[in-house]
Symmetry: C2
Subunit: 373 residues, 2 copies
């Protein structure tokens, strides 16, 4: 027990706890009842009681600080007993601002990331859980990482997903081939350059992770480009707050159709969380449907969209690199935009791509002892 | 051509179009350039040009209304030509409020839905695309539908998913067994009652669809419960706007841990879209982590949470029904809460569950001609 409790005092709604190091904490009785060890299943950590059924004015009959440091609460309402470990109370002390600061700022990056691309080797992440953890941590921190020496074999990228989570299968299959084909149903399957974009913005929920694995790079051109959408959006927020605000509150439609598919999502380009932090970006010039906004909003929207697009296109933010056979990159598809330069149709360029979700990756990272939230 | 254009006039920033029925529409040149047929790939409908690179003050050199009704624009900037079909212009006329109203209100429901549960038979949805369409439409409209006569066989629910989309695989597998087991890692795998909840709120993105398929119902109890979370949230918004607002802006943590998994998501219980409409609800008493809010927010949060929970628990909103072998239900897991009454451990109750995503379902519905905003 790092910090024993020295004294407790019963207030009307809260229990006051003094610690040996001088800290003073307050715990609402309501909160204590809701989170007491006897309310939680010991096997699976899930709550066994109905939080909303706890009487709002619940209070203890007695509170006893035992010699072993445990705190026992006997509840007035039905005489049940709850025994709290001091370490647990200390760890969940919401009286301290540092405990309740949830805003973990992402590490924003620009073109200078190109000098030291976060990367690892596939054989190493397979063999060594610490190397896997560090690679997943890079995905968490930067929303982007490279993996080299992945077997140059069809579907090998699925083995990479299996290291941390699960494939999100879509109408494109569990994985898909990115190469130049005749009559493509998607511009990705041509030799055209693709400006940086997020994938599948016409899907809700959009896939939160994307992997691209290089099998052939014999075509001239076809360099990969990545851009930190959070960095770009933060810059826009700073230099043109009215443009930024407009992009967070104007829903636009993304759509994709082929013979068997008709996908559509209506969403702003920049999504904020309930605290106003940038949560997600969707940006894909190819699949934005004709704007259907009130006429007076058309020009302001295009102005804001242009301001965002100019930042995305600027050399300051673009990291450009060449994938060779066996190289794979992963992006957080709600944060990092990816694209490519045009390539010649005379040589062969062949990537395979697939989607996955962040929840599995972050879970694996936490189990490996990585920091993520 | 239902409505020919009778006349056009060039304004500074917009083209004014008069239609034979008297309607007058305005199209910004910027918008016309961005959505012109020559800017869009004819194979796949994707945009070939960079929207943000269009000069903001772009304007036509000439606009010609051809005898066949087509509108030809020759652009001043580079002399390129765009040919617009009048039907397309009419369909995308954003001068008319009805074109731009995107807010498709969901059909809210309460316990009275129990008298006529939206349902279909599996053999019929397999054989008849119209019946499939109507069943998917019910999922879209109500966020809930039953399917009967599904083969009573393990993994048969995957065939149901294959009718409209793709499984979202998770740490629970492509599908999972819901029955009482020894040392469960989840309270779902006990005989305990489960109050209405959404599944996997500790995941981001949460699965947007859930299916539950009954293989055995020999235990006493174990009735299913569903609640329209959007109806409940709308009621809360109406009767206690301050509680509602607090639940939309207070991030809380959901967490699930077992030996190989550590899933966590931080999000408000009620999510609004950029227009303030209710977009998603997460509610799961079992996996809400101890609140880590500033002390002065603890009691207000519990008060709002209780108000929401009381509505969810009220008979007014709960639809209760019994699943028999071969019955399956599907819910929109961001809208409809599901639960069950307790069941006896002496008989056998066995469900199988799986997750999927709404995007595939809505795509299939649109391809079948269903209406889904």
């Amino acid at each position: 027990m790092a910090n024993p409790i020295t004294q407790v005092a019963l207030h009307e709604r809260t229990l006051l706890v003094d610690w040996v190091d001088g800290r003073r904490s307050h715990y609402h009785y309501l909160w204590l009842r809701d989170n007491a060890p006897d309310a939680i299943d010991t096997h699976n950590g899930q709550r066994l009681i109905e939080s909303v059924a706890i009487p709002p004015a619940i209070c203890p009959q007695t509170v006893t600080l035992h010699a072993d440091g445990q705190l026992e609460v006997v509840w007035a309402v039905n005489g049940s007993r709850s025994l709290f470990a001091p370490d647990w109370l200390r760890a969940h002390d919401y009286s301290q601002p540092e405990t309740i600061s949830t805003a973990n700022q992402p590490l924003l990056w620009d073109a200078t990331l190109g000098a030291h691309l976060p990367s690892a080797d596939y054989p190493a992440v397979v063999d060594d859980r610490q190397i896997l953890r560090d690679w997943l941590q890079a995905v968490h921190d930067y929303g982007f990482a490279l993996l080299r020496q992945v077997p140059v074999a069809s579907a090998a990228l699925l083995k990479v997903v299996a290291l941390f989570g699960y494939v999100r299968e879509t109408n494109y299959g569990p994985y898909f081939d990115v190469k130049s084909v005749v009559s493509p149903n998607n511009l990705a399957y041509t030799g055209l350059g693709l400006s940086p974009h997020t994938d599948n913005p016409y899907r809700d929920p959009a896939p939160t992770l994307q992997l691209l694995h290089c099998l052939q790079d014999a075509a001239a051109g076809g360099d990969s480009i990545v851009v930190d959408g959070f960095a770009v959006a933060a810059r826009l927020r700073q230099q043109a707050p009215e443009h930024f605000a407009l992009l967070t509150r104007t829903p636009v439609t993304f759509r994709f159709r082929d013979q068997t598919t008709d996908l559509m999502a209506v969403t702003p380009l920049i999504a904020l969380d309930s605290q106003g932090l940038i949560k997600a970006i969707r940006y894909n010039n190819r699949s934005l449907a004709p704007l259907a906004l009130p006429p007076e909003q058309i020009e302001p929207f295009y102005a804001a969209y242009r301001a965002l697009g100019e930042l995305i296109a600027s050399a300051e933010f673009q990291v450009v690199f060449k994938l060779h056979p066996g190289d794979l990159f992963i992006v957080d598809n709600e944060r990092v935009l990816h694209g490519r330069t045009a390539f010649s149709n005379t040589g062969n360029r062949h990537l395979q791509g697939c989607y996955a979700d962040r929840d599995g990756l972050l879970s694996t990272l936490r189990v490996l002892g990585g920091c993520s939230d």
